[in-house]
């Protein structure tokens, strides 16, 4: 349905997005996962025709949208990372404004506004001024504003940044329903691995402006099929201890995680005895030891050597 071909963008000679190839089929929910500064927002700005790529192409149904993006804009709903609403206007007035500029027919506008408010669960707050809303409620209206014209492709740029877990779950469930019930194609960018895991059928992982891995959840996890993930709870952590673990030849990655460390090591390699010995040498007590199923976070750690939130 929509695809990017070797999409690149350079600002003042510095390449921030390089040869990004994405493909979204109709009704798919695709995640774009990466840490801050990975190039996700620049990529979706180019896909949504807000930013001209330095090179590459964006195609909708096989037709290039770079020089004339009007067809793309008609089917696109974009939820920006910022709260792009008039703070002094009510929720209803904001939606009416966006409905009007998106040319929703007059006789349908009122119905669409009410449907959208229902969807985001803020029908009873429609007469309230946006600046009196909580962060989560603002985010929901931010999403609602992109839905009034019934877009068939919805692009969301980190729509849950800075909100409480309850509002986050509400938003994720809402997007899931839109995708499943209305067959809306969703491109969801985030640096929260759990959100992408929960919501998306396929995932593109970006880092330093490039797509470093892509595939379904299981395809990505298979990258770690030759590794085991272990979580070790400790009474204290020393840099010397971490360095010593890192130097074990079967260990791929070590990182601090809560009150312990997470180790990605070669599958079936028995490092427990070595681990206990090093802990003894460093006067560290092992409180708990647990084998874990790898997550997308582990995949990212494996591919880049750092976590999504680094």
């Amino acid at each position: 349905m929509i695809e990017t071909i070797q999409l690149s963008k350079a600002f003042k000679g510095k390449t921030v997005v390089e040869d990004v190839d994405l493909y979204l089929d109709k009704g798919e929910s695709v995640g774009l996962l990466g840490p801050n500064g990975a190039g996700k927002s620049t990529t979706i700005s180019m896909i949504s025709s807000l930013l001209k790529p330095t090179s590459g192409d964006v195609k909708l149904h096989g037709k290039s949208m770079i020089s004339n993006p009007s067809d793309l804009r008609k089917v696109l709903g974009v939820v920006p990372q910022e709260i792009a609403l008039y703070q002094e206007l009510t929720a209803y007035e904001n939606l009416k404004f966006f409905g009007r500029i998106y040319r929703v027919p007059k006789d349908q506008l009122e119905l669409r506004i009410q449907e959208t408010l229902e969807l985001v669960g803020l029908k009873d707050r429609q007469k309230d001024i946006i600046k009196t809303f909580s962060g989560g409620m603002k985010r929901r209206i931010n999403i609602a504003s992109a839905l009034l014209h019934n877009p068939s492709i919805l692009i969301l740029d980190e729509p849950t940044v800075g909100i409480d877990p309850q509002s986050r779950n509400y938003i994720l469930e809402m997007i899931r329903q839109l995708n499943e019930n209305s067959q809306t194609t969703v491109l969801y960018t985030s640096h929260y691995m759990e959100e992408v895991e929960q919501l998306c059928n396929r995932v593109y992982i970006m880092d330093h402006g490039k797509v470093i891995a892509s595939g379904t959840h299981s395809e990505l996890l298979s990258i770690l099929s030759n590794e085991d993930t272990m979580r070790v709870q400790l009474n204290q952590i020393h840099d010397n201890f971490i360095n010593a673990i890192q130097n074990i030849d079967v260990v791929r990655q070590v990182e601090e995680s809560g009150d312990g460390i997470k180790i990605i090591a070669q599958k079936s390699a028995n490092i427990i005895s070595t681990l206990v010995r090093i802990a003894d040498q460093e006067n560290i007590k092992i409180l708990n030891f647990q084998m874990e199923n790898p997550s997308l976070e582990d995949v990212f750690l494996h591919l880049t050597g750092r976590t999504l939130r680094d």
Partner: protein, 367 residues
Amino acid sequence: MISVFLAQLVKERRNPLLIIIFMAASIGVTLIFTDGTQAPTSISIFSEEDNAQAIEEKWEPLLNEENNLKFITTDPAEAREDVQEGRSDAAVKLFEDDYQLIKTSNLPTVPYVEQHVRKVFEKEAYIQAAVEQAEDPDGLRTDITTKLDDPPLKMEVVSTTGDELSSYDMATQLMFAFTLLVAMFIIGFRVNNIMKDKVYGLWDRMILSPVSKTGMYAAYIAYACFIGFVQTLSVILIFKYVLNYDIGERLDLLIIIIAFFTFSMVSVATLLTGIIKKPEQFYAVYPSVIPIIPLISGAYMMPGTINNRVLIFIGDLFPLSHAMDAILSVVMHDGTWSDITQPLILMILIGVIAMGIGINLVERRSN
């Protein structure tokens, strides 16, 4: 475009405090600087010579003969204190044949007072020089004074239309100067909405909608023009109908001048928006630059006070000096269409050029 315009209007309606404060400020400042509803400005006079009383009695009636300034004999210490503490703009220390102006600032009334006092002393010096040579000085003085009051040949100065010339009125000039100054602030802050909406992502949302970019700019610019025009006209109507200021008979021409000024100033604000990178920087820079424009344009001073060519050139780059020329022409000299055509053309020219460059710069930054 209409939707974007209406959204700005609803925002304003929801939070009208800024406009109200600015309107009240322009009225308040005008009243403070013009000393109420065009009541004559009081200026203290005093002498510290040995024959102080005689000097004061000689000059007080002469100074109060004409003009809407009121010169009052005051105790020297009190007069000095009034000036020092800002209760009075200036005071005049009198000598037998000379004077000294006491001032602590260059408020708009000061050059006006100075000009009037100098005129009175020069006139008296001419009469004094003539009577000193006469055999009957008192007789000649009486003769000259009588002749001046009722001259055998009277030269009447009329305007090009044959009407009597209106007298110059500083209070009215200041009223227009302050009103246009406040309008410049309002206009700038509203034009800056383009930058604010860009930063908050609203602009991008509109770009993705079927509204054209031209329509978006037109809506923001039309709104800034509208709010600037309404604010300026409202203040002027309050002065005319509530505070009884004399603003002439040609309100139609004034409305046209205000409309042209508003458009031109919106363009200048757009240019500054294009030069300044962030809306927060605009809020810092714009209020620092705008108060300088009336000073350079001579809006607070009597026409002709500024004669430095560089300052005149810089002042002419801004629409305020042309708007003030046109307004003073209409209000004080009963100017007609032909008198205001040139300032109007210059304002349009500034408007078109500044708007073109401004939008270009804003767009360049976006890309």
